[in-house]
């Protein structure tokens, strides 16, 4: 079981959360010409690193806020969590 520290509610079990994928993927800017390649990169292309990965989770059975989690994809260790508006470095 993973234990994730929600920045709003504190340490909670993984079962309360829902995964949201890579948090570093940036949507192309609106009201600008977007090339097929940029859409392709945004929608489909993923780095999926082995090691530290910044990802989105939603505390779906809690405060329902989206949060950022920095986690090791090889060991499942969680280093940091943050509000979705905050940066993880």
């Amino acid at each position: 079981m993973l234990y994730i520290k929600c920045p709003y509610c504190g340490l909670r079990a993984q079962k309360e959360f829902s995964y949201g994928g890579d948090a570093t993927v940036k949507r192309p800017n609106i009201n600008e010409e977007v090339s097929t390649e940029d859409w392709d990169n945004f929608v489909y292309m993923r780095k999926s690193p082995r090691g530290k990965h910044v990802e989105l989770w939603q505390h779906i059975a809690g405060c329902r806020q989206w949060i950022k989690v920095q986690r090791d994809t090889a060991t499942h260790e969680i280093f940091q969590t943050a509000k979705v508006t905050e940066e993880i470095r």
Partner: protein, 418 residues
């Protein structure tokens, strides 16, 4: 090569089985090969075998970080099927079914292919309609499909919960009678033994650390056991695809996730084929040893750990108990995990790349085992002829940017949602 038969078995019994030939050698890597296949799993071994057999390319090496058959080919739940709706997937896998049917004879190795059928259960009228549609699509592609009503399902799996109290009653199901299971390890070993006999070097405990690419052309690979020159390089590394892609400065429409499976203690034969629960993440079959082999869905977050967490096992077995209440009395023997190269549309990629001489075989999601022979067959063709075969002509890398997706399950790009 010594032929395996009942006579060789008897002959070797007299010497207490001490004098069998080694099934494959343990060569030192040569400095140069015509083709290097990275990844000694089922797909890599099959590719090397068909390169040698179908295309007479024998100066081939398989480079494996661990030991052959130690990854997903030894971790899957051995299901073989071709019950796909889309033409590209259906044709591809039905060609594979033909290879499976003759594989034990061809490899002189009993892969124990046992076509006992797969039943996908339906729990609503809408699901029955969807299965009728999928069944019709399968039949149009020459694949056997049978739509079963509730009574027909009850005859085949009477131990399922057919009572009135269940939350998801069984309405019927879609059956592919020609689907089945095989012994996964034997598939890897059978291909390895034949490939080795035809001159392929199987190099184990050798990790790829980098690639030599000059002017957009592959020249060789760097490994933990020295540099190896190669005219062509094929990647068959499943869950490690993203790691090697990073070394090539490539980004792929692939995410790596962990999938778990489990087996119970062995019990007497009670379940003939494979059954999938249509209202939750659960499927089951019974191995020849009697263990109930069960699986469900991904743990649901990016992972390179070949192990998962308990909540997913619990979730999967909750579905299992809803379908087969008898499971509550069985002891669990073991659980394990493997890492899946989840493509963004759920279908595989077998293609050339923008680097000349570099070929890609990935994106198998949680369904790579059934395609082992056809994947090797088409990948060998793609490498040898430097062009895709008709069978993998739609399994291209560029289908994501052109919009020609093969989204069999229609789940979108959230690869972790089952």
């Amino acid at each position: 090569m010594q032929k395996y038969s009942v006579f060789s078995l008897i002959k070797n019994a007299f010497s207490n089985h001490q004098n069998w030939e080694v099934a494959w050698k343990d060569p030192t890597p040569k400095s140069e090969y015509d083709v290097v296949i990275i990844g000694g799993g089922g797909h890599g071994l099959a590719t090397a075998y068909y390169l040698a057999k179908e295309h007479n390319i024998r100066n081939v090496a398989i480079i494996e970080k661990g030991w052959i058959g130690g990854g997903n080919v030894g971790r899957n739940t051995t299901i073989i099927r071709s019950n796909f709706m889309y033409d590209a997937n259906a044709r591809f896998n039905e060609f594979g079914m033909d290879l499976w049917r003759n594989l034990s004879q061809e490899l002189n190795f009993n892969v124990m292919f046992s076509p006992r059928g797969i039943i996908n259960l339906a729990h609503s009228d809408a699901q029955m309609n969807a299965y009728a549609r999928r069944g019709n699509s399968m039949r149009l592609n020459g694949i056997d499909a049978k739509l079963l009503d509730r009574d027909e399902v009850k005859k085949l799996i009477p131990m399922a919960d057919f009572s009135d109290e269940v939350r998801f009653p069984i309405f019927g199901g879609l059956m592919q009678p020609s689907a089945g299971t095989a012994r996964h390890d034997a598939v890897a070993w059978g291909y390895a033994r034949q490939a080795d006999d035809m001159g392929v070097d199987i190099i184990q405990h050798c990790e790829v650390t980098g690639f030599d690419v000059v002017n957009g052309k592959i020249k060789g690979i760097r490994t933990s056991r020295g540099d190896i020159k190669a005219k062509k390089v094929g990647l068959c590394v499943a869950g490690s695809t993203n790691i090697l892609a990073e070394k090539l400065n490539m980004t792929l429409p692939i995410e790596t996730h962990v999938l778990q499976a489990c087996v119970s203690e062995p019990v007497k034969p009670l379940l003939d084929g494979v059954v999938t629960f249509g209202a939750g993440h659960f499927y089951i079959s019974q191995s020849d040893k009697g263990e109930m082999v069960m699986g469900g869905d991904l743990d649901g977050y990016n992972s390179y750990a070949q192990r998962g967490n308990l909540p997913t096992i619990q979730h999967v077995l909750t579905g299992g108990l809803a379908l087969f209440p008898f499971l509550s009395r069985l002891k669990m023997l073991r659980t394990w995990g493997g890492i899946m190269d989840m493509s963004m549309d759920g279908s595989p990629i077998i293609d050339k790349t923008h680097i000349e001489g570099l070929y890609l075989n990935c994106g198998w999601c949680y369904g790579g085992f059934k395609s082992t022979p056809v994947s090797g067959w088409t990948f060998a063709h793609t490498i040898a002829q430097d062009q895709v075969h008709e069978l993998n002509s739609e399994l291209r890398l560029n289908r994501f940017s052109t919009g020609h997706l093969l989204d069999e399950k229609g789940l979108g790009t959230k690869t972790w949602i089952g």
